[in-house]
Amino acid sequence: MSGILKGRAWVFGDDVDTDLIYHNKYLAETDPRNMPQYSFEYYPGKESFAREVKPGDFVVAGRNFGCGSSREHAVHCLKEAGVPVILAETCSRIYYRNAINNGYPVLFVKGISSAIRDGCIKDGDELEVELETGTIRDMTSGRSYHGDAVSDLEREIMSAGGLIPYLKSRRKEG
């Protein structure tokens, strides 16, 4: 994924747990394509996310996004909905692994948690995101943020398209 991505922001707080992203009620689902309909159903004030999210929209969150369960559904439901990247101050360990393993980018964005708290970045803001450089521009407010790129290994896994394609290509090389 390269170039500049453009889309609207959906803004969430700190410590968004996996039950808020994808509730345990729907864990028996195994087909990722069926998962977007349940996204954020339990997040107070964001119940309409699944109906209203458009491909290209961004999820913007504070600290420790995706804490809680190991369910990969919480990554699939956003990826399949067409959210191109998660922009969060930090992301929980398991959520981060699940995202990388699916070739799904997460940018760790310094200062975004307090920007959310202070109302500097809001639902519906038009964002431009450059994944290569980590630059995030809020065209509505005029503010800019910077997201950290991942380590070399995670970058390699990401660019292979996820952990499985990465392992397969390593096998062929080996």
Partner: protein
């Protein structure tokens, strides 16, 4: 510079020296999946290998059916069947079906877990196996499927926090209360990405069940793993089940005196009081006495965090001191972690007394960790539970849950309102 426990574990598993912060590929000792997540792992593996692949080692894979055991819906039944068929096809014999209990506990009781092992599972509380110094971690289905392919996976070598705990708990206070206090103090991200070594005289004296509680709740502070080196009766118990080599395995991963810690925290539990995680977050913590009097609709005692025999026995003690009767207005559910625990409770004569007192005593399962099994709460209801999470709507939209120790939970069950268990267990004492 010396090495911490997690560094030594990762050195053994990767076959090379490791540095904090780097990524290493570790050999996997156990790659496990539950009824939740397991079907996705199996389907994913078949997709990758076009249905013709063989797992790297069928003797290092286990399935545990615990989240919805027995299944409550056709969809879950079908997922469980997918797993059974996959296991049969791949020659995986360790499938612990719906009659066994919570996965990590079953693996532990069966002697399959050794100090220093690297273990994956589709359960974010997999890391409770740190109670015997195994590095176990919850992962998604892609990580599991990938490890079945290669027998390895990647990890970041984490920094280590050391937590020293001293003192004796007062009557009515338990390890769960210490943990609740810790979660409240450090917050949901307080152990972010860290390995945590628990030491001190309180830990050295602690029972296996208390170590399980301690290590499982590391997840609620976003820690990677909480580790306790097995000693004393815990090490004897483990050696009996997993073999005498666990003694050497434990000694080999003891931390060096000059091991690098990012932080050392010290706690004295002798003045600690019963604590509760209030709605709707594990780190929203207050002393139980400050929320005493809140009417309660349902009480649940169980889960991977507090579902062992000693937890059930602690609840039994409170019930006994209350004349063996739970409040008629409170649905009280007790769920043992495993079949072995259930048998222990039966042999001790507890189950009959619980049933007579009005308790619903269920088969071993995760039960109230999901709204999709028995015991889901209706909107507006208040629950008290010994599970590990009370996120918004977790066990039912519009419901609210207080997390607490087994003693505090049973105190709420007998009085019908949140009650400091010391009001019951310290009666007639100095």
């Amino acid at each position: 510079m010396g090495k911490t426990v997690i560094m030594k574990i990762m050195e053994r598993a990767s076959g090379r020296e490791v540095k904090v912060g780097e990524r290493v590929w570790c050999g996997i000792d156990w790659s496990t999946a539950r009824d939740f997540g397991g079907a996705s792992c199996a389907l994913q593996f078949d997709e990758i290998t076009e249905g013709r692949g063989h797992v790297w080692n069928p003797d290092r894979i286990a399935f545990t059916f615990d989240l919805q055991a027995p299944s409550h819906s056709e969809k879950v039944s079908n997922n469980q069947k997918t797993i059974r068929e996959f296991a049969r096809r791949q020659g995986i014999t360790r499938l612990f079906d719906v009659n066994h209990g919570i996965g990590q506990h079953v693996l532990l009781e069966r002697g399959l877990v050794k100090p220093g092992d690297v273990i994956l599972g589709t359960d974010s509380h997999m890391n409770l196996l740190g109670c015997v110094a195994a590095f176990a971690t919850g992962v998604g289905s892609t990580d599991i499927a990938a490890s079945w392919l290669s027998g390895t996976n990647w990890f970041r070598v984490p920094e280590t926090m050391r937590v020293e705990v001293t003192g004796e708990f007062q009557r009515g206070v338990s390890m769960r209360d210490f943990l609740t206090m810790l979660v409240g103090g450090l917050g949901a991200g307080g152990m972010d990405f860290l390995s945590v070594e628990f030491t001190g005289d309180t830990i050295e004296r602690s029972l296996l069940s208390e170590r399980v509680t301690l290590c499982s709740m590391v997840t609620e502070m976003s820690g990677k793993i909480g580790l306790i080196l097995p000693n004393g009766p815990v090490l004897d118990w483990l050696a009996e089940r997993a073999g005498p080599e666990v003694r050497e395995r434990a000694a080999a991963i003891a931390p060096d005196l000059d091991a690098p810690y990012t932080e050392v925290r010290r706690y004295d539990v002798s003045e600690l009081e019963p604590m509760a995680s209030c709605p709707d977050a594990p780190d929203n913590v207050r002393p139980v006495r400050e929320v005493a009097g809140v009417p309660v609709d349902q009480v649940h005692i169980g889960s991977c965090t507090n579902g062992r025999f000693e937890d059930i026995a602690a609840a039994f003690e409170v019930l006994k001191l209350s004349g063996f009767k739970v409040s008629p207005g409170v649905r009280t559910i007790i769920t043992p972690a495993t079949r072995e625990v259930m048998i222990q409770a039966a042999r001790a004569g507890m189950i009959e007394r619980f049933l007579e007192a009005g308790v619903v005593f269920t088969n071993p399962t995760c039960s109230l960790c999901t709204a999709e099994h028995y015991g889901a709460l209706p909107s507006g209801d208040v629950g008290c539970s010994t599970t590990n999470r009370n996120f918004i709507g977790k066990v039912g939209k519009g419901s609210h849950t207080y997390l607490m120790s087994p003693m505090s939970a049973m105190a709420a069950a007998v009085r019908g309102v949140i009650t400091d268990p010391r009001d019951i267990v310290c009666q007639g004492r100095d």
